[in-house]
């Protein structure tokens, strides 16, 4: 298990996004990765309940809604991952005693769901105009039984993999903001996946830049 193959499996599926598609939320975005699709809506800064208020910063609440059934522990775990990433980048001290609510609706799950949620969340926060110190993106890697690393796996590839990792990468220094892993892998494999995710994140950040440039092309 010395040398990990990082050959043809490293492709990012076709991705796309649309911003400002809902009229009620302050910011909304949908992000598609292959067939996986997540819709994000942001409200804020808004009034916060007294029992939830923090005196010097905004309170961030994340809700992940599955398509079928009631939300369970799995959704709570995803909410935690997304919330920690967002709290690391949002300048919440600019809005003390306010609430920021981020709602993620799973529209279709075909693998890499957590990274799709992260990307949709970032685009929705940008659309809402909330002040952020840096942007973030999510990349999922899977290690299959032949020790090959696959980025942005489909649901089928996730099922057959022996390890699955999602990293939230920041835009300034490509640091890892959050990592969520499942399965067994070696330290070397982990570092390779992190390095690979950092490379892949460049494409996604370029996509953010292009989307925003396109959106404000008529104004600027």
């Amino acid at each position: 298990m010395d040398q990990i193959e990082t050959g043809s499996g490293s492709v990012l599926r076709e991705y796309g996004s649309e911003q400002n598609l809902l009229s009620k939320p302050d910011g909304s975005a949908t992000f598609l990765q292959g067939d996986t699709s997540v819709l994000a809506g942001v409200y804020g800064p808004a009034e916060v309940k007294v029992n939830k208020e923090i005196y010097d910063r905004a309170t961030l609440e994340v809700v992940v809604q599955p398509k079928v059934g009631m939300s369970s522990v799995r959704e709570r775990a995803r909410e935690q991952c997304v919330r920690e990433t967002c709290e690391a980048v949002l300048l919440s001290t600019l809005h003390p005693r306010s609430s920021l609510t981020l709602i993620l609706q799973v529209v279709h799950d075909d693998g890499s769901l957590l990274s799709c949620c992260l990307n949709a969340a970032c685009m929705a926060l940008m659309d809402a105009g909330l002040p952020m110190g840096r942007l973030f993106c999510g990349v999922t890697c899977a290690i299959d039984s032949d020790s090959q690393i696959i980025t942005d796996p489909t649901a089928q590839q996730e099922r057959e993999s022996r390890a699955l990792m999602t990293f939230a990468i920041d835009s300034k220094e490509r640091n890892v903001l959050m990592s969520s892993t499942k399965g067994s892998f070696s330290v070397k494999e982990l570092q390779q996946c992190i390095a690979l995710s950092q490379k892949a994140s460049e494409k996604i950040f370029q996509f953010y830049r292009d989307s925003v440039k396109r959106r404000y092309s008529k104004i600027l």
Partner: protein
């Protein structure tokens, strides 16, 4: 107080507008907003946009035992959820009156009208029937949630395919979608709700009210009807009193609207069927508008591999040497496994600190055993302590001499966390 003032202002201006026979968004009194129906990649997934109101519906199925009172009929279950995304007034997990009203009306419209043939959902009478579950999520609230929800629900039901089942005597075989093509539900007719908003005690009426209009309306009338001009349900709320000819006029308008909407749904279903048959691209990814300035799409992109190995080597060389890696825990007996062995504590804690932890449910003190099944998720931290071992390690320094391996048949509960005893 300001809300009431606002409402009154709105009301007055609205009534004046309607009197002049126009609406705020330029529609006529009997006009519907633009309806857009798109289907997702898997069967039974549908998004409906009624103007700015957006609703997502998903149909799923599962085999369950039938209700005692109806052993030969399948079950259809509706669940409408007001996502907190749809409006700042919707909080998660809060049962509001609007939610109950919408759920009830959706049930009456689709279940009581018997539009789905529940007898065909029976697999083994009295034992196994299909339960069809329809989840409707409201994504954006700009008025007239009822109509949008009913259109989404019936479109999703018409689009849905359940797995094929073969019964031979007592053996039931359920085929996966790859083995045999899934089967459509048997739907007799498509009931669709049409909402009417009344103003000035029934003098003025509007079809398909938007959110601002809904807020100032006196009363609401919802008629569920199908293409064959059969009324499936009528509901009047708000406490206004309507005359017989008003209700008849509404039902005539409804029948026209319902036939238009049914044609639209059928066209969308036909399109989707055709695209799937031709092997073209389908799903929400395709229906995303490309020509909008707020939307962007990128094709499949390979990730550049140059320098990845070097980057990884750099990180590894900076850190300390990693220990040997093992990919599975030692399975000692069924349901009991061992994960690593302890290391010297660097905390310098006293011995008696962790004695209290071992009380509780254990009669006999247990060594570092952790109930682990194959393929359980291990945290990265624990991986540092993987070691190959065939035998049980005695790690702790406890006073008990014998090592006891707990069996799953034991009557007491085995707690899941592992304790490291420090020296």
């Amino acid at each position: 107080k300001t809300r009431k003032l606002e409402k009154n202002c709105y009301r007055k201006s609205y009534v004046w507008l309607i009197h002049m026979a126009t609406r705020l968004d330029g529609r006529q009194t009997y006009d519907y907003r633009n309806i857009r129906i798109t289907f997702g990649t898997d069967y039974g997934c549908c998004t409906v946009s009624l103007g700015k109101t957006r609703v997502l519906a998903q149909v799923s199925c599962e085999l369950v035992p039938p209700k005692d009172s109806r052993p030969t009929e399948g079950i259809v279950f509706f669940n409408l959820e007001l996502s907190p995304m749809a409006s700042p007034a919707f909080q998660p997990n809060r049962q509001s009156e609007l939610l109950v009203t919408l759920n009830r009306q959706l049930e009456r419209c689709l279940r009581n009208s018997k539009c789905i043939d529940t007898e065909s959902l029976c697999v083994v009478s009295g034992e196994k029937v299909w339960q069809i579950r329809v989840d409707v999520h409201v994504l954006n609230h700009d008025g007239n949630l009822m109509d949008a929800a009913s259109i989404a629900a019936i479109s999703a039901l018409s689009h849905f395919r359940r797995p094929d089942v073969a019964i031979q005597g007592r053996d039931i075989t359920i085929f996966s979608p790859e083995e045999r093509d899934p089967v459509a539900l048997s739907i007799y007719h498509m009931p669709i709700c049409v909402s009417f908003a009344f103003f000035q005690q029934g003098t003025y009426l509007l079809v398909d009210p938007c959110e601002k209009e809904e807020q100032v309306t006196d009363g609401l009338l919802v008629i569920a009807m199908n293409k064959h001009r059969e009324i499936c349900s009528i509901q009047s709320s708000g406490g206004i009193m309507l005359l017989k000819d008003q209700v008849l006029r509404c039902s005539k308008i409804a029948s026209v609207k319902v036939s238009e909407i049914t044609d639209l749904i059928n066209k969308a279903l036909e399109n989707d069927k055709r695209v799937r048959k031709e092997g073209g691209r389908f799903g929400f990814a395709e229906s995303m508008p490309k020509e909008r300035i707020t939307a962007l799409k990128r094709d499949e992109a390979p990730v550049e591999m140059t320098g990845v190995q070097e980057m990884a080597e750099e990180f590894l060389s900076k850190g300390e040497a990693a220990p040997e890696v093992v990919s599975s825990p030692v399975i000692v007996a069924t349901g009991t496994g061992q994960l690593g062995e302890g290391v010297q504590s660097t905390w310098g804690l006293e011995e008696e600190d962790e004695e209290d932890e071992c009380q509780g449910e254990m009669d006999k003190e247990e060594k570092k055993k952790k109930k682990a099944e194959k393929g359980t998720a291990f945290t990265f931290h624990q991986l540092f302590f993987f070691h190959f071992s065939d035998e049980v390690m005695v790690i702790s320094d406890s006073e008990e001499e014998e090592v006891v391996v707990l069996n799953p048949e034991a009557p007491y509960v085995f707690s899941l966390f592992s304790e490291y005893s420090y020296q």
